[in-house]
């Protein structure tokens, strides 16, 4: 962003059309000027900007916004249907064409382009560039410090939660607005301006969150504190999923900044209740269960005695359907043994036995010989295969089932390998693994933060379409808090991607078992009938199945067996 004295240069550069002013050059030029009257808030965002200038530009922007708002009301939403991508370095050219498309009501055409030229320049900096200590961002989430250009992904983060009319859908349009937003934000600081467009606020919100995370990464807690408060202000203007995401992330950041980690733990049974509610209303757990069960059912074909080891029994919701399918399979049901593992209960009730008993009643009704055993453990790593009384493979066929459990083991060194070795010692015919499809286990806080922001925004967006409930969002909020605020052994939501798990499983001595087309068709069909939102997608990924929202996979099911001996 240039100040007036550089306007001439800027105009020349921009009117050249394809001139792309590198950020380095811009910075070099900026460094020539004294930092008088700089807005501190925006300094950190990469803008060397005078507050007074900001007020000026903000005013122009408002006028432009109003003009465009008028256009929209007339029923002409030029930009909302346009998906032309503009060269960001030619922003002024774009704005001029936009203005000329608007009706003659635009009276300030002559004034804006130069301002836009100024802003256009700063927007030319490319994502991922490193300059003077700024962070290179994850490919997925292109956000430049100062956030001038967003890739479509990040735009989705904001867009996702806001249905209804947006004034600018074209990516160039959002670039423009996003570019404009920090100025308007500074204008807020200088002079109260009521901003009506919530998309713009949403963009600024994300922007500020990321700036805050960056401040935390750099251990600039004073700045982080200021920014996190600002997030709070902005979040109020949002509704629905966006608001929740912002709120949870802001809370998590606040925890990290103030190092407040509450001691009171959520009562385990309550969290189970929430889980059941989650199960009912969102397709994720159901998908996990159907796909894992399909693999287990097929692995059990022909077996007369089967044994399922469930790494987190919870309410046992995965098992009635499997038991029913086994009961009615051709040739009659096998004897079915279930070993359920769960955490200790704060009220010392034996939750596992209650679940086991209910499943036993069901088994009786449907005519399946049933045996149950519960194991209480704080961590799967506390268990050994020989505790579980696994019978030899010519006597029983074993399936090990892990739904959203393995990633926790990554919090303690050695735990995952210990558990994988235990699994191998159980000699299972099949191991089913369902995990979140995200990398929330990176070493760099900022990377984790950005990845999580993207992931949970998508997740919340999908839930909003199927009915966001306090239960759903509470559980996700807890995860967000964990990923963002905690570290060391307390950070247990160490999600990793399917690719990462594949590598881990292979090197631990497991071979993949392809989930067949049957599983894919069933999952698609069941999802289609009842998902309550038409953005869900089932994808097949080299023998694994993924459930996602639009283009973003969110959970992945894979199946494994012991690698064949050489």
């Amino acid at each position: 962003m240039k100040r007036d004295r550089d306007r001439g240069k800027a105009e020349a550069a921009v009117s050249g059309g394809t001139a792309s002013v590198g950020k380095a050059k811009m910075l070099a030029e900026q460094q020539q000027q004294p930092d008088a009257g700089m807005d501190e808030l925006f300094a950190v965002l990469g803008y060397k900007v005078k507050s007074s200038d900001m007020a000026d530009v903000a005013e122009k922007l408002e006028q432009l916004e109003m003009a465009m708002g008028t256009t929209m009301e007339d029923g002409v939403s030029v930009l909302s249907t346009d998906t032309v991508h503009y060269n960001p370095s030619d922003l002024s050219g774009w704005v001029e064409s936009m203005l000329s498309e608007l009706s003659n009501s635009c009276s300030f055409e002559s004034m804006i382009p130069s301002q836009i030229g100024i802003s256009g320049e700063s927007s030319c900096s490319r994502p991922g560039q490193q300059d003077g200590g700024k962070i290179i961002y994850d490919d997925d989430l292109r956000a430049i410090p100062g956030g001038a250009i967003f890739s479509n992904n990040l735009k989705d983060v904001v867009d996702a939660s806001e249905n209804g009319n947006k004034r600018m859908r074209a990516s160039a349009g959002s670039e423009f607005l996003e570019n404009g937003s920090p100025m308007a934000m500074a204008a807020e600081a200088a002079r109260p301006v009521v901003v009506v467009d919530s998309q713009e606020t949403g963009v600024r919100l994300v922007h500020t969150l990321m700036a805050c995370a960056e401040a935390v990464q750099q251990e600039n807690m004073k700045l982080a504190d200021a920014l996190v408060k600002h997030v709070g202000i902005l979040a109020v203007s949002q509704i629905g999923a966006m608001r929740k995401v912002a709120t949870y992330f802001a809370e998590a950041l606040a925890r990290k900044i103030y190092k407040i980690y509450p001691q009171d733990s959520l009562e385990s049974s309550y969290s189970d209740v929430l889980q059941m509610h989650f199960y009912e209303t969102a397709p994720y757990l159901k998908f996990a269960h159907f796909t894992a069960n399909q693999a287990i059912l097929e692995a059990f074909a022909g077996a007369t005695r089967v044994h399922v080891v469930d790494f987190s029994l919870k309410q046992g919701m995965q098992w009635p359907a499997l038991m029913q399918a086994l009961a009615l399979r051709a040739g009659g049901p096998p004897a079915f043994r279930l070993t359920g593992i769960g955490p200790p209960q704060p009220d010392n009730t034996d939750a596992l036995q209650e679940v086991g008993w209910k499943l036993a009643q069901l088994a009786e009704t449907i005519g399946v010989e049933f045996e149950f055993r519960g194991f209480v453990a704080n961590s799967l790593a506390d268990l050994d295969a020989n505790m579980l009384d696994i019978r030899p493979s010519n006597v029983e066929t074993v399936a090990v089932n892990s739904v959203f459990e393995l990633h926790r083991l990554l919090a303690r060194p050695g735990a995952i390998n210990k558990v994988l070795n235990s699994i191998k010692a159980m000699n299972p015919k099949i191991l089913t693994v369902v995990e979140q499809e995200a990398n929330h286990n990176g070493d760099v806080f900022l990377d984790r933060f950005n990845e999580a922001l993207h992931y949970y925004s998508t997740m919340f967006d999908s839930l909003e379409s199927s009915g966001l409930t306090p239960a759903n969002s509470h559980d996700l909020g807890r995860q967000i808090c964990d990923v963002v605020a905690y570290d060391g052994p307390e950070r247990v939501e160490r999600h990793e991607t399917l690719a990462q798990w594949r590598a881990r499983m292979r090197s631990a001595g497991f071979d993949p078992v392809h989930l067949g087309s049957n599983a894919f068709k069933q999952a698609s069909m069941l999802l289609a009938l009842f998902a309550g939102g038409d953005g869900y997608r089932v994808e097949e990924n080299d023998g694994c199945l993924m459930l996602g929202w639009h283009t973003r996979p969110l959970i992945a099911t894979s199946a494994w067996r012991l690698a064949a001996a050489e």
Partner: protein
């Protein structure tokens, strides 16, 4: 029991306010979602598995109707795994119902996805019902007593009624596109002295129920006329486009107009109804027909049709149809009725068609069409509105018809025909009527009527 003093999940920031939508305790919640119970297999004898599958279908239907997505999904998953389209007859029957339930859920749910269904049942959906040639249909119909029973009984009754007439007008309302006619012509040719002139009238199908024909009625008619000629029977053929959906009103109109002519010529009028009348809408589907006599009575097209028939003063009416009740407006009741009837055609098919044969595919595809119609359609699109014999008998009596018995000769003929088929088929007499049975269960009834 292992204990480690290690923190597990960190807690949320705020105290969670009570969640209004959740029940008070987790136990209650679990109880709210039990797996549906049903009788243990051992108490059900050899029908154990079938009964379990029926129960699952019933629970699934209930879940779909009450929008219980979770339970419906779970049961659909189970059914998908146990009801193989290539399995035994119970499995294939259940598979047909499963597909129909999915089709129904696809219509009522939030889902956009016929594509998903199409993906799931891609090869199955390509079983668009076969269009039969005459030869194919003729031999298809002969494979089993399902239609032959009605043909044989009806032809015997008709032949008796035609004694002495020189002109015979046969109105053939038959699902099998006149496949009964060749044997009737044969009988007329051999047994009636100086065979009468035969006028054959059919209601040209404006709808498509299986089995479907791949030639037009005109072509069919000329083949039949040629066949009759080869038996030295002179036959005239006429098609009157008319639809069951409006109670064959055009056909009735035409027949009314011919009343006068007929009275002069001493023509016999034979109305042969073979599994067609159940497509005429009945009282559970309000037809919007104004009732002139009483505004309290709910008059259906079905009632009006039978009255109209009576008005034609026919020589004989033969009514043959499947003995089941598919008219309930309650999905679960309908499902039970249909499941407890349609197991029969699945059960019989092993006795006359080998697995993998094309004819078997056609046969089962036509069955799936029926199942899907009964289960996943509503309103006028749901055309398979079977009523049991008792209901039809009542209707005919209300329309001022009197039932006539089938002669001993007729019964003997039917028995002889049944001997050509598998041992499970049987015949029983109920009052004046005869009923085809399979393993003792009623399958098809045949009744004969004259004006009362």
């Amino acid at each position: 029991m292992m204990q480690f003093t290690e923190n597990y999940c960190p807690s949320p920031l705020h105290k969670i306010p009570p969640l209004p939508n959740l029940p008070v305790t987790k136990n209650q919640m679990f109880r709210a979602r039990p797996w549906p119970g049903f009788p243990t297999p051992k108490s059900l004898g050899s029908f154990g598995d079938a009964n379990c599958m029926e129960q699952l279908l019933v629970h699934c239907a209930n879940a779909i109707e009450s929008n219980d997505a979770t339970l419906a999904q779970q049961i659909l998953w189970v059914l998908n795994n146990i009801a193989s389209p290539d399995g035994d007859s119970n499995q294939r029957l259940t598979c047909g119902f499963l597909r129909a339930l999915i089709a129904r859920a696809a219509k009522t749910g939030n889902c956009k996805l016929f594509t998903a269904m199409a993906n799931v049942h891609a090869n199955d959906l390509s079983m668009n019902n076969h269009k039969f040639s005459i030869i194919e249909l003729a031999s298809f119909v002969d494979l089993t007593p399902w239609h032959r029973f009605g043909f044989t009984a009806a032809n015997a009754a008709v032949l008796e009624a035609l004694e002495g007439y020189s002109v015979v007008h046969i109105v053939d309302l038959s699902l099998t596109h006149c496949m009964q006619i060749p044997t009737l012509i044969d009988s007329i040719a051999t047994r009636l002295e100086g065979p009468p002139l035969v006028k054959l009238t059919v209601a040209g199908a404006m709808e498509d129920f299986p089995p479907m024909l791949d030639l037009s009625y005109e072509e069919l008619g000329s083949k039949l006329v040629n066949f009759a000629r080869s038996r030295n029977v002179v036959m005239e053929f006429r098609v009157i486009p008319s639809s069951s959906s409006n109670g064959f009103s055009s056909l009735i109109e035409q027949l009314r107009m011919q009343q006068l002519v007929r009275a002069e010529n001493g023509e016999a009028l034979v109305i042969n109804c073979h599994m067609m009348l159940h497509y005429i809408p009945e009282e559970t589907l309000s037809s919007g027909v104004p009732n002139t006599s009483s505004s309290i009575e709910n008059t259906s097209l079905r009632t009006m049709f039978l009255k109209a028939l009576r008005g034609l003063d026919p020589t004989i009416v033969v009514l043959v149809d499947e003995d089941a009740d598919f008219t309930s407006n309650n999905l679960v009741n309908r499902l039970r009725s249909a499941y407890n009837y349609l197991w029969i055609p699945y059960d019989t098919v092993d006795t006359f068609l080998p697995r993998g044969s094309k004819q078997r595919q056609w046969y089962e595809a036509d069955l799936c069409w029926k199942i899907e119609n009964v289960i996943s359609h509503e309103g006028p699109q749901r055309v398979e509105r079977l009523e049991p014999k008792s209901k039809w008998v009542q209707r005919m009596r209300n329309a001022s018809f009197r039932g006539v018995s089938f002669s001993e000769d007729a019964i003997t003929e039917v028995r002889n025909m049944l001997d050509e088929h598998a041992a499970g088929w049987g015949l029983k007499k109920e009052d004046e009527d005869v009923v085809l049975t399979w393993k003792g269960h009623n399958v098809v009834f045949a009744t004969a009527w004259i004006p009362a």
